[in-house]
Every structure is written in C-alpha cells, then in structure tokens.
C-alpha cells in the first residue's frame, strides 16, 4: 500500500511538473506550430553541443597557430607553424632527447603511449576473451561472476590508483606479502614437513605425466610401472642432500615497484593496473557477443559430428568477429587517451618513464609557470589526426565486412 501511494505521489508530481513546464512550451507551440517544435526540443542540446564541442574543435586549430601565454584569444599572437616546428623539428623521432623541449615531451609521451597501447590492448583482449569464453561455459552463478569481474569498471580511476599505490609502495602490502611468502617458504623447506609433503606432490605430478606418456608410447598402459617410477624419482629428488639448499630462496629485498626503473616495473604495473580497471567492460561486451550466437548452431554442429575445436574455430570465432573488432578499436582509442590512472599512480614517473601523450598535453597547458596553450593545441591536432586514422580504419573494416 505504501509503495502504491508513493507511486501515485510520484505520478502526481510528475504530472504537475509537466503541466508547469507545459505553459511556456505550449505558448511557443501556438506561435510556431507543432512541426517546428522539433527545433525547440533540439535547441538546448545544440547550444551546449555547439558551445562546448564544435566551437572548441574549430578553436583548437586556431590556437595551434598562436603563441604566448594568455587565455584570451585576442591577446594571442599568430605564430604560424612555430608550435608544430617545435614539436616536429627533431633530428630523430626515435630519440626524443634530440628534440627541443616541447618535442622531447611530445615524443616521449607518444612513444610511451604507443608502447602502452601495443602491449596493453592485446593482453587485455586475450584475457577478456578467455574470461568471457569461460563464463560462457555452463558455469554456475554466471551472473555473479560477471558482476564481480565488472565491478572494477565502476571504480573511479583515482580510487583504482590509490588502491594500487598502497599495494605497490616500497613499504606496501605487496612487498610485505612477498617477504612473508619467502620467509614462510624457506621455513617450510628447512622443516621436517618438507620431505613428505613435497615428495607426495611431486610423485602425483610425475605419475600423472608418466602414465599418459606410457599410454602413448605403448599400446598397453603400464600404470604400475609408472607409479613405481614416479615414487622412486620423487623420493630421489626430495631426499637428495642438495635439494633444500637449492630450493631455499634468497632473502627478499623489497622492490620499489613504481620507482625502480631498471627492470621496467613501473610500465608493467601501469599496464597491469589499467587492465585491472578496464578488463571487465570488454569481458562483458565479448560475453554478450558470445551469448548472442544461437545455441542451435552448436547443436547442429554436434549433430554433424563437428569436433569441439572445429566448432570453436569455424563457428564461435567468425561469429564473434564483429564484436572483437568493436572491442579492439574501442580499447585502442581508449588506450591512446589514457591519463587518469597513470597520472595519479605514477605522475608519469619515474622521470618520464610512464608519461603518456595526454599528460603531455595537460602539462603543457596547465602545469608550471609557462602555460603553453599553443603547444598543447598543436599536440592535440596531431593526436586527433592519429585517432581519426584509427577510427577510419574501423569504419573501413566494418564497411568491408558489411559489404562482403
């Protein structure tokens, strides 16, 4: 009863608000006629759109050819191609150090972004596809798994960055856990439990492998032999005097994951954290694509005696291709614009190791005393051209597929 009275209250309020707003709109309608009301409905959107999307797009080209530090357009002198010259006038694009200051920042960001996209996108798509394929099996509680994997997508990049920063700091949780793990492992190796436990596990693994191997080599499976051999080898391995020493790990030295540049850890973690935060979205799209493939296709294939792997290559993958292309292009475009997570997590550091192209634009325009809006705008033009190429590629691919 309470719900229905709430409902009717909402309905009443909705109606009243509508009637209130109807006054001016109905007056306009009487003036211009029902057909032209379409323009009235479009107006607010077009206004905001024009002012904050189209106008800036055009303005961006103009600003790219101006210099100075003023925000006011009129006070910005035209400098021609000066900004572009500063960005592009490098002896070698592969070595940003040879560029002028702005060019150094630009090319560092660009190469980092290209590397980031080239590594992150394939990894993420493969992991998302594998996860989606597994969830598309006859899994219990699929909705729940799907929700859990999707959850990080809901989190803000700042929160994601703070969480992982806390994990990856030098005195962070990952180092503490690894330290404990190493200490614990060494204690286990030194203790009396090691020989029986490790021996049993090793024997089981060896048995599983050897029995299959035997079955393949001989027509007759000699399982007893395999068992004896496995236990013997395991005992030999575990009881040999050198084993504990060999297995004892060196004392763990905390790694400064986000700062230690030597092993490339910062870039690794930047890719990892970004993937962690976005994987669920692509998994969701791919899963939806998989579930849109009609079941009876597989049943027909089964009736035809098609093997599972053939059905996968000949049915699943081709039918999933359109979704895959969408996912690929979307993730590429997003990867090129990565900023939030990385800016909060590493600030582009150490040095410039994880500085991406958008951060270059942001910092040129808004950080430091010299606000180089011209450089930022010129960089934007170049990045936009790059993104446009990607998008046109997508259009071409989808057009071609639709045509074929």
């Amino acid at each position: 009863m309470a719900a229905s009275s709430l409902n009717s209250w909402v309905a009443g309020a909705w109606k009243a608000l509508g009637d209130l707003l109807d006054g001016p709109f109905a007056a306009v309608q009487r003036h211009i006629g029902a057909h032209r009301m379409a323009y009235v409905f479009l107006l607010p959107n077009l206004l905001v759109f024009g002012l904050f999307s189209f106008w800036p797009m055009i303005l961006n080209f103009y600003i790219a050819f101006t210099g100075g530090q003023s925000v006011i357009l009129g006070e910005r002198p035209l400098v021609g191609f000066e900004n572009f010259r500063e960005l592009l006038d490098c002896p070698s694009y592969l070595d940003p150090k040879t560029c002028p200051v702005a060019g150094y920042s630009f090319w560092t960001g660009l190469w980092n972004t290209l590397f980031f996209a080239a590594v992150q996108v394939p990894i993420m798509i493969v992991v998302a596809l594998v996860t989606a394929l597994i969830l598309n099996r006859n899994i219990r509680g699929r909705g729940l798994w799907r929700a859990v994997y999707f959850y990080p997508v809901m989190l803000s990049p700042v929160v994601v960055a703070v969480i992982w920063d806390w994990i990856l700091k030098r005195r962070g949780i990952l180092n503490a856990v690894l330290d404990d793990a190493v200490t614990g492992w060494n204690g286990f190796v030194a203790s009396g439990w090691f020989a029986p436990v490790a021996g049993a596990v090793l024997a089981l693994v060896l048995y599983a492998g050897l029995s299959r191997l035997f079955c393949r080599l001989n027509a007759i499976c000699r399982l007893k032999w395999a068992g004896v051999l496995a236990i013997g080898l395991a005992a030999l391995a575990v009881l040999s005097p050198g084993t504990p020493a060999l297995l004892t790990l060196a004392e763990y030295r905390p790694v400064n994951w986000l700062i230690d540049q030597r092993a490339g850890w910062p870039m690794f973690w930047v890719i990892f954290v970004y993937t962690w935060g976005h994987l669920g979205f692509y998994m969701l799209i791919l899963l939806a694509g998989l579930q849109a493939i009609p079941r009876d296709l597989y049943e027909a294939a089964e009736m035809d005696g098609t093997s599972k792997s053939r059905a996968f290559w000949r049915i699943t993958l081709p039918l999933l291709m359109p979704t895959m292309i969408v996912v690929l292009v979307l993730s590429l475009i997003r990867a090129f614009q990565v900023f939030d997570e990385i800016y909060v997590l590493t600030g582009g550091g150490p040095g410039q190791a994880t500085k991406m192209i958008i951060q270059h634009i942001y910092e040129s325009a808004f950080i430091g005393d010299a606000k180089r809006y011209g450089i930022a705008a010129a960089s934007s033009v170049l990045v936009a051209a790059l993104l446009m190429v990607l998008t046109l590629m997508q259009l071409a691919i989808t057009r071609k597929r639709a045509g074929g």
Partner: protein, 359 residues
C-alpha cells in the same frame, strides 16, 4: 602434454552433464584466481582502512586490523603494551612491558604493578586483539581533524551536486534532442543526427585547451557549473535514447495528438515514461561518469573549496603519505556510493552496458 585441442576443450566445453570434467575444475580455478585478483585488493584495502596508523606504518600484512592491548601505568602518565610471556615450562602470563634492558625486557604482571621483573624478550609475544579503528572514518568527516586534513564533507557535497545536477540535465536535454531526432520530420534532421554521431568520434581529451578557454571566458572556472554544463550534451546519450525512441510506435503520439496533448505534453507524459529503460541506462552511465570524472574537474577546479571527491583524494594522496589511515578510509568512502549503486542495480547495469556497448 597439453595439446591445442585440450585448450579448446577448456575454453569451450559448454555442457557439464553429470560429473565435473577436468576442464570444469580448471575453469572454476581460473575464475577463483581472477576473483582474488579483482576482489582481494579492495577487501584488503577496506579492512586496512580500519587499522591504526601504527599498524599501517609497520606495514602489517595481516588482513584483519590487529591492535596491541595496552594497560595504563600505575600513575596513569603513560600506557604499556601487553605481551604474553611463555615460560620455559610452557605456562603463560600476560605482562606489561615497561622497557627493554639488553636482551631482556622489564615487565610487571598485568593487574599487579609490583614487582617489576625481567624476562628474555625471546619469550615474549605481542598480545593483540582485532579492533577496527572507526576513528579513521569519523575524524576526517565529523571529528576534530575535519577541515585540517581532508574536507571530506565539502568534497562529498560537491561531487554529489555535480553528479545529481549533471545527470538530471543530461537526461532532460538529451531526451529532448532524441525526441526531436526520432519523432519529427524536418529539414536537416538526418544531417544533424549524423553530426551528433560523428562527435562520438571526437575524443574530449583533444579539445582540452579550447574548451578551457571557452569555459574561462564564460566565467565558469572554479565553479561546479564549469564541470556540469559542458558535460550535459553527450552524443552517447542522444544516440542511445534516439535508438530507443525509434522503437516507440508513432501511433501512440498521434493518439496523444488527437487527445489534444501539446508537443511538450507528448514528450513529458508519453515519451519519457515509455523511454524509462533507456533513460535508466543513461542515468547509471551518467552517474558513473560524473562521480568518477577526474581530468576535466582537475583543469576547471583549482581551489580546494570546489574540489570534487576525486580531486580531493588525488591531492590528499600526493600530500599526506603519513596519513595513510585517513587516505584509505576516504578512498573507501569514495567508492562506497558507486559500490552501493552497483550492488543494488547490478543486473540492470551489466545487461544495460552489454546491450548498448557503452561505458
């Protein structure tokens, strides 16, 4: 010994009739491993947000917030940590540690301040209890340190304001445009729809500078409106709503026109209620976008009174590394609203996003 066929079996076997196949076990193993990678950091952070500053500085990796038990000194001037003394014969005694002396510690039995005696430190272990420190949450929000460290309530209000107002405006403005583009025939309609879809391809990140200049010229720098207004006309929203509205039969609108409803009334009383499924998807997306927004607020809002939560949090992270206990607690509070929305509307959100392919 694992062939390509096995991998395919693992990925594609869709029938678990009767017993679980080995690939089922592997699948569940994969899912659980993934679950740990996704959930563990968040759960861990949540539980750690209840730890004391001391425990966080020590970088105690245990999941639960342990706290050492303390007792006051006899004169009340200070407190002593309590430890469990395990005598060589195996009996145990709770003692308060007064101080170290060489390899020994000077202690007294809890509840019996005299005598103070010495025991080997190797025989002592800290006596701890699980004790969540809720002050991490209360102090920066309603407690004494509120304005000094992290003006949480102000940021929270700013974020809520931006999210709610921008979402309402987004819904109304985009629904109006979608209505015009889906239900009227007028000159230039198709061109306009095309242009709006084309802007989907223009990433907002490449127009930062001119957008900033426009917003600054309109006097909206350091104003929440500078964050709200540029965001309300999303091509995504128009596109999404238009596609949905195209499926609403025109005869309904004609019936309403025969019923003497004005165009606005048709929009408000017929179109909007019937577009509720699409509107709710857009509402959820918009809430997510605005609440999590970082880059544009970072550019427009430079004074801390107008910071959103995301800005506050990132600033706080940069400045105050010794206040980890507050940072974690505030992070939890920041992700809490989105999490609650997600828990309640989980099914709706995942199907909505899966169907539209938008984020």
């Amino acid at each position: 010994m694992i062939g390509a066929g096995d991998v395919v079996t693992f990925l594609t076997r869709t029938r678990g009739r009767g017993r679980l196949h080995w690939s089922d076990w592997l699948a569940y193993g994969y899912l659980v491993a993934g679950l740990l990678i996704v959930v563990l950091p968040i759960v861990w952070m949540f539980l750690s947000s209840l730890k004391s500053p001391g425990a966080l500085v020590e970088n105690d990796p245990r999941i639960l917030p342990y706290e050492q038990i303390t007792v006051p000194a006899p004169d009340g001037s200070r407190t002593f940590g309590v430890q469990v003394w395990t005598r060589p014969d195996g009996t145990r005694l709770d003692v308060a540690v007064v101080g170290p002396r060489g390899l020994n510690a000077r202690v007294f039995e809890v509840g019996k301040p005299e005598p103070v005696f010495e025991v080997p430190r190797s025989q002592l272990a800290r006596k701890e209890i699980v004790s969540p420190r809720w002050e991490n949450y209360t102090e920066p929000t309603i407690g004494a340190t509120q304005s000094r460290t992290f003006n949480f309530l102000r940021y929270f209000w700013n974020s809520t304001f931006v999210t709610v107002v921008a979402t309402l405006l987004t819904l109304v403005v985009n629904a109006m445009a979608a209505f015009a583009l889906s239900k009227y025939r007028f000159r230039g309609r198709d061109a306009m729809a095309l242009v709006i879809v084309a802007t989907l391809l223009i990433p907002p990140t490449v127009i930062l500078v001119p957008l900033f200049m426009t917003v600054s010229k309109l006097g909206m720098l350091n104003s929440l409106w500078g964050v709200i207004i540029p965001a309300i006309a999303t091509p995504t929203g128009v596109f999404l709503l238009r596609q949905y509205m195209l499926t609403i039969p025109d005869e309904l609108l004609e019936a309403a026109r025969m019923d003497a409803a004005s165009e606005w009334k048709i929009f408000w009383r017929i179109m909007l209620p019937l577009s509720l499924p699409a509107l709710s998807v857009l509402a959820i997306l918009s809430v997510m976008w605005r609440w999590n927004d970082f880059m544009w607020p970072l550019i427009v809002l430079t004074q801390s009174e107008v910071f959103t939560l995301q800005l506050g949090l990132s600033t706080f992270k940069g400045e105050l590394n010794d206040n980890m206990h507050y940072l974690l607690a505030m992070t939890v509070l920041t992700l809490l609203p989105v999490t609650l929305v997600f828990v309640v509307l989980q099914k709706h959100i995942t199907t909505g996003i899966a169907n539209t392919g938008l984020k």
